[in-house]
Symmetry: C2
């Protein structure tokens, strides 16, 4: 049996390496990135976000990209066998319209749907999960059993993990620690304690596979996540420096520049505020590289309206609006200091797995 137990559900993924997924980063995680990650043996996610107006087009693009691959590639084979796109879609559930989402998912069902940040966690997700599960496409080859869309649920505390498990019976739990870039719980632990406490709290026999998110930039941190009880990991910040990511040059340049991730990033709600995004439930904030929006808000006490006005002016600068002196938001996790060059999705996955093996090899002296 291959050590990767998710391989039977996502048969295109590397059977001998721990699962790696690309996070559904708003605006950045498009079909190109998702397909590239899946082609490389990971699980790519397309960002559905809270405004679903662009999602259908991305799924159509993913469908075309999948069917245009050589028929011996495992991606088109999976698509034909199951009717499911070989990738996932992520929603921000506080804002996404359920009826619209279900309608889109029926047209282009993906292998997995990732639910995150409902107003009420986990209760608001129950109808989502039920309706998504009922969308089970017919296998195009009659001999294969039908495969339903898998439900991934993101949690940030032990309590969320336990209640999500009991209420939603997710297929995968994504446990997000405090190092993560972008949005997450304002009050949270890192994976160092979140993962082992979730593992020791969830009933062992019914334990859902856990993927770790937040601070996983390298193979060393993947090895750490596995030690802590995860079966794999999700990377966001690392994929901001991916050739296939849909990211502004200024944003990507800032990701490559920033070092000392704990000192150069900060958790705050100011980046939502300047961009006029108001829907996030109160328990969330977002981690980004410290810039002038933050400094003006926290150190100079600038009011939100003036800060927002300056942000809008900054947009005219294009790529030069990013950076510590700029105002464009650079969402990034504390792992940003370990991200120093742009690689393809395939190169990223291969490097992380290889570094992970080296890190694990270094531990065997202690056995």
């Amino acid at each position: 049996m291959p050590p990767n137990t998710l391989h039977k559900t996502y048969p295109w993924i590397s059977p001998s390496n721990p699962s790696l997924a690309s996070a559904p980063m708003l605006n950045i995680a498009t079909a190109n990135l998702a397909i590239s990650v899946s082609k490389a043996g990971g699980i790519g996610f397309i960002a559905g976000g809270y405004n679903l107006s662009g999602l259908s087009a991305e799924l159509i693009s993913a469908s075309k990209q999948t069917t245009s691959l050589h028929p011996t590639n495992p991606l088109p084979a999976f698509y034909t066998d199951t009717g499911l796109l070989p990738l996932g879609v992520g929603f921000l559930n506080w804002g996404a319209d359920r009826a619209e989402a279900i309608s889109i998912l029926k047209q282009h069902p993906p292998a997995a749907v990732w639910l995150f940040a409902p107003t009420n966690m986990p209760d608001d997700l129950l109808e989502w999960a039920n309706e998504i599960r009922s969308i089970t496409p017919r296998s195009k080859t009659a001999s294969k059993p039908q495969q339903r869309i898998q439900i991934w649920v993101q949690v940030g505390t032990v309590h969320e993990a336990l209640s999500a498990q009991q209420t939603l019976h997710p297929d995968v739990i994504v446990a997000q620690g405090s190092d993560a870039g972008g949005h997450g719980l304002a009050r949270s632990a890192s994976l160092m304690t979140l993962l082992p406490e979730i593992c020791s709290t969830l009933p062992e026999l019914t334990q859902t596979p856990i993927l770790a998110a937040g601070g996983i930039s390298t193979g060393r941190s993947l090895a750490a996540a596995l030690s802590l009880g995860a079966v794999g990991a999700v990377m966001g910040t690392r994929f901001l420096a991916c050739a296939e990511a849909n990211i502004a040059t200024g944003y990507q340049r800032e990701i490559l520049r920033a070092t000392d991730g704990g000192a150069s990033t900060v958790r705050s709600t100011v980046y939502d505020s300047v961009r006029g995004i108001h829907g996030w439930p109160e328990r969330y904030d977002g981690r980004g590289v410290v810039n002038h929006s933050y400094i003006d808000s926290v150190e100079s006490g600038m009011d939100d309206e003036e800060n927002r006005r300056l942000y809008r002016l900054e947009m005219a600068k294009g790529d030069d609006g990013w950076g510590p002196q700029g105002r464009m938001t650079t969402y990034a996790g504390t792992g940003v200091g370990l991200v120093n060059r742009v690689l393809s999705a395939e190169e990223i996955l291969d490097e992380v797995w290889e570094d992970m093996k080296r890190a694990i090899g270094g531990l065997t002296a202690w056995q």
Copy 2:
């Protein structure tokens, strides 16, 4: 060669397990705890803190405890051979008086001194390090080379690690992540990214051994810290539930009770404020279990003076002053949810090492 490279400097420690130290927790890490940890094959630290009035008495107690051990025990043998107590002493350098500290250390030199939180990092520590290094006791057995007191320096960012390395040439770097209980940098990453970024930044050839601190409560997290590049770990919160710790019953009960460490603890300066402690440099705050001091300050906007007055009243309640409804400070890291019973120092070390081996064993499928 034993895999633990610190064993040649601290010959009483377990040669076949990664180093484990007990943190110099103010008021709690007394001679009893430090000697118990060293006896169990770890490195125990006595808290010197910022007010050194009680330190001599603790070192005298440690000396008596060491010499009263059976002569075949490695602790008295090390003490005789080197003139150094088989343990360490930690200082809070923003407050501790250097002349007083040096005078005490000359009387009772320990194997290691841990420097933390000077007003100016790392410059203020240079004279400390130089003066401490010059205290090298005569070996009582002429055949042995003299061993000097080792300098441990605690850092919380990559920048601090690099500048400490260049300025102080420490013997050990303690890298503290954001999960740590008690004081640490308000803006910080967890060990997930702090350790690998320090390792990739410090020049490889001159690399100082790094011990990980912050969120290490179990063997899983020790294995994770090793994957991330540390050679061992420091535990604080875990030793709050140690039979040999000098801790109030109410405090310890709260450590055993608290779960979901990321949600139940918070970083704040309110716990210093209510206790009237004002010397910490501004870049620090402290992580503790959420209680009424915090809630009143942050949610109700209570002014500091009233909050301090209520804290002083709460002290009369004794052990009942701790807890979510109380006001006594429960400094603890996010690993608090993994600390569920009181064990001896020896049982803690043995359990952590055993769990670590199990966690490492589980990784070998991925090699």
